[in-house]
């Protein structure tokens, strides 16, 4: 009975530490009461299993409970949950083992007495160390995992997970050695130091992982910045080109008038008509018009408008006022550049092709509705996989555009849908973004 009470407090402290860790690090999926109930349920199973007194079973169940709690109750991917639960398991074990060896060094017969007081003192000390280490980790961590993105981990995190898992195995080996023979003070010291090193290695793994995430974030931001600068440069180049063309046209106007005068004298009305229409439809006479009230989006749309003119794609943009003002410039860039790149890729080399972009606010709702409809001769959804297939030459970057769109949509709590209409041979993208109240 006394042992059960002791175990109850052990698991209570461990549950509190897990709660603290998860709340600090991840965005919850459910309300506090639901999360608390799930945590209690999982740790009750741990408590029941602890009565079998099997170290292996305890470790495996502790890891499984942490994994299930993180994965089901917080917004993170399963491999992220796997990484964090393995790190927690290792820290918990190293703390216990460290305490075990320290006590054994000073009091070699401490654990042979098998008293409840001894177990209590050991538990309090080891859990205090565990709590301290986790608190230091949380204090030192660079960044909180992003909302709704399942963390910034990719599957490469599995290589890092190998280290904590190997550490657990090494620690269980240490325990087995300690249980099977009496350790000399020197060996005891060596094992104590080994556990400290194991803890340090695992903390280092955690730190390296954090550092990688931070660098990835910086790299993404840098890429967006570069894309934005490229847009700006192209826009100004386009303006210069337009000015140059208009200057040439003004310079040539006298010649055009002379030609028209000659045609007029010859009374060739049809040719005059054709000449005037040719001049009127000249792209140099078209102004660089403002397509929307957002400066950044305007630059992007102007650039794509120019590309569409060059590729003989009819481009129509209907952007309603005040719809894009709550979106960061970097997000506007990644969203619309990727959407329009895909639309232009699909609409190229099709007679009478078009791209229609609409952005409007749905009245009395927080939703901004973005629709892109473009010509597409073929259904871009692969028949086998039902995923979008890219025809871009650089296959190594396939799928990044769509991922970037989804990331932005998710950031603004929106939704996205794409479908192909085989009757009108058009591809439709519908996006909603939530405007903060």
């Amino acid at each position: 009975m006394k042992n059960t009470i002791c175990y109850f407090f052990i698991f209570l402290v461990e549950a509190i530490i897990l709660w603290k860790y998860a709340s600090h690090y991840f965005t919850p999926k459910y309300k506090t009461a639901i999360r608390a109930a799930v945590l209690c349920g999982l740790y009750s199973v741990l408590l029941a299993a602890a009565l079998f007194e099997s170290k292996w079973l305890n470790i495996i169940l502790y890891f499984a409970a942490d994994f299930l709690f993180l994965f089901t109750q917080y917004r993170l991917s399963w491999y992220s949950a796997f990484f964090h639960s393995s790190v927690l398991t290792t820290i918990m074990m190293t703390c216990e083992l460290m305490m075990y060896y320290i006590i054994m060094f000073f009091m070699p017969h401490y654990f042979s007495k098998n008293g409840i007081h001894n177990l209590t003192v050991f538990t309090i000390c080891s859990k205090l160390i565990f709590l301290t280490v986790v608190s230091i980790l949380l204090h030192l961590c660079f960044l909180k995992e992003q909302q709704g993105h399942g963390g910034r981990h990719d599957k490469a995190v599995f290589f890092l997970i190998l280290i904590p898992i190997t550490s657990v195995f090494v620690m269980l080996t240490f325990i087995k050695i300690s249980d099977s023979c009496i350790l000399s003070p020197a060996l005891n010291w060596m094992l104590t130091l080994s556990t400290v090193f194991l803890l340090a290695i695992n903390l280092l793994v955690f730190g390296v992982n954090q550092y990688n995430q931070k660098k990835n974030l910086e790299f993404t931001e840098m890429q967006l910045l570069l894309q934005k600068e490229a847009d700006l440069a192209q826009y100004y180049e386009m303006m210069l080109l337009q000015n140059e063309n208009q200057s040439i046209l003004i310079h040539d106007i006298k010649k055009h008038l002379q030609s028209l005068d000659i045609l007029n004298r010859k009374n060739e009305r049809d040719r005059i008509d054709a000449y005037i229409h040719q001049l009127m439809n000249s792209s140099t006479l078209k102004e660089v018009s403002r397509l929307c009230d957002n400066e950044m989006l305007n630059m992007i749309l102007s650039r794509y408008q120019r590309q569409c003119i060059d590729r003989h794609i009819a481009f129509h943009a209907d952007i309603r006022k005040g719809t894009m003002n709550f979106i960061a410039d970097s997000d506007i860039t990644s969203l619309f550049c990727n959407l329009l790149d895909n639309a232009i890729e699909a609409s190229g080399c099709i007679p009478d092709s078009f791209i229609e972009l609409n952005i409007s606010k749905r009245e009395k709702t927080p939703f901004i509705v973005i629709t892109v409809i473009n010509s597409s001769r073929k259904n871009p959804f692969s028949e086998q996989t039902h995923y979008l297939a890219s025809h871009k030459p650089d296959k190594s970057r396939h799928g990044f555009g769509l991922k970037s769109i989804r990331r932005t949509v998710s950031k603004y709590h929106g939704d996205m849908q794409m479908y192909y209409n085989s009757d009108s041979l058009t591809f439709h993208t519908i996006i909603t973004l939530k405007q903060p109240v």
Partner: protein, 235 residues
């Protein structure tokens, strides 16, 4: 349905008339009544129905922005196309909801696409639904229905004006209501997309949070897909 054209340029009016007739011929539909006006004053004096309007901005006398605003005040269901040769950004100047901006010279393919959207929207807005109660039959535009809710054995139809207790069951309502505008979010709720204010994983908020409907977890994805398609159709 009555379609109005208001432009001081007779060539544009003629072109619009031709395109409208061509659209309905292509769609194998009867061409609705057309009425043409050369000034905003003449259009404002017209007393007939106004369902769909092609409106020029720059006209002698009162301009298109003023005319559109006045007409929207009279009838907020009117679908207004702005037809303009002005190349600058226009929406900043608008004080009313413009369905589409069409630039001159008109692109026929785009005109047909936009006409199809407008005609679909018009039909969606004008579908009439009979609500049979123990005391009689009341007829409403489908857009007036906010939601249908099963409360025990009763089936309540929430409309923008008041609630009605229907004599029919939920299955009847699901088959009667247009599929593109209504969705059964839960066995006890059918919601009108038009009145959705917001939604999350478990609730749909309607008519500025006046009503709420449960959203079944397994229907969440289908609901989102249907709602996004609806938003595209009425954009």
């Amino acid at each position: 349905m009555r379609i109005l054209i208001c432009d001081d340029d007779a060539l544009v009016v003629a072109q619009l008339q031709n395109y409208i007739k061509a659209y309905f011929e292509k769609a194998r539909l009867k061409c609705p009544r057309l009425a043409c006006f050369s000034s905003g004053e003449a259009l404002l004096e017209d007393k007939g129905d106004k369902d769909l309007l092609f409106l020029d901005i720059e006209m002698p006398g009162i301009n298109g922005i003023y005319v559109g605003n006045e007409l929207k005040k009279e009838n907020d269901k009117i679908i207004i196309f702005i037809v303009t040769s002005y190349s600058e950004y226009l929406d900043e100047a608008m004080r009313f909801h413009v369905f589409r901006y069409l630039s001159k010279p008109l692109d026929q393919q785009r005109f047909f696409r936009n006409m199809r959207d407008a005609v679909d929207l018009y039909h969606t807005m004008t579908v009439k639904i009979p609500v049979e109660t123990k005391t009689g039959i009341h007829t409403f535009l489908s857009s007036s229905i906010i939601s249908v809710e099963a409360q025990g054995r009763k089936v309540i139809v929430h409309t923008t004006s008041r609630d009605f207790e229907s004599v029919h069951n939920m299955h009847y309502w699901m088959t009667l209501l247009p599929q593109n505008c209504f969705f059964q979010t839960h066995r006890s709720f059918i919601v009108n997309f038009e009145h959705i204010s917001d939604f999350d994983h478990s609730l749909v908020h309607l008519a500025g949070n006046r009503f709420q409907a449960y959203l079944t977890k397994r229907k969440y994805s289908a609901f989102k897909e249907a709602y996004l398609l609806y938003l595209e159709s009425v954009r």
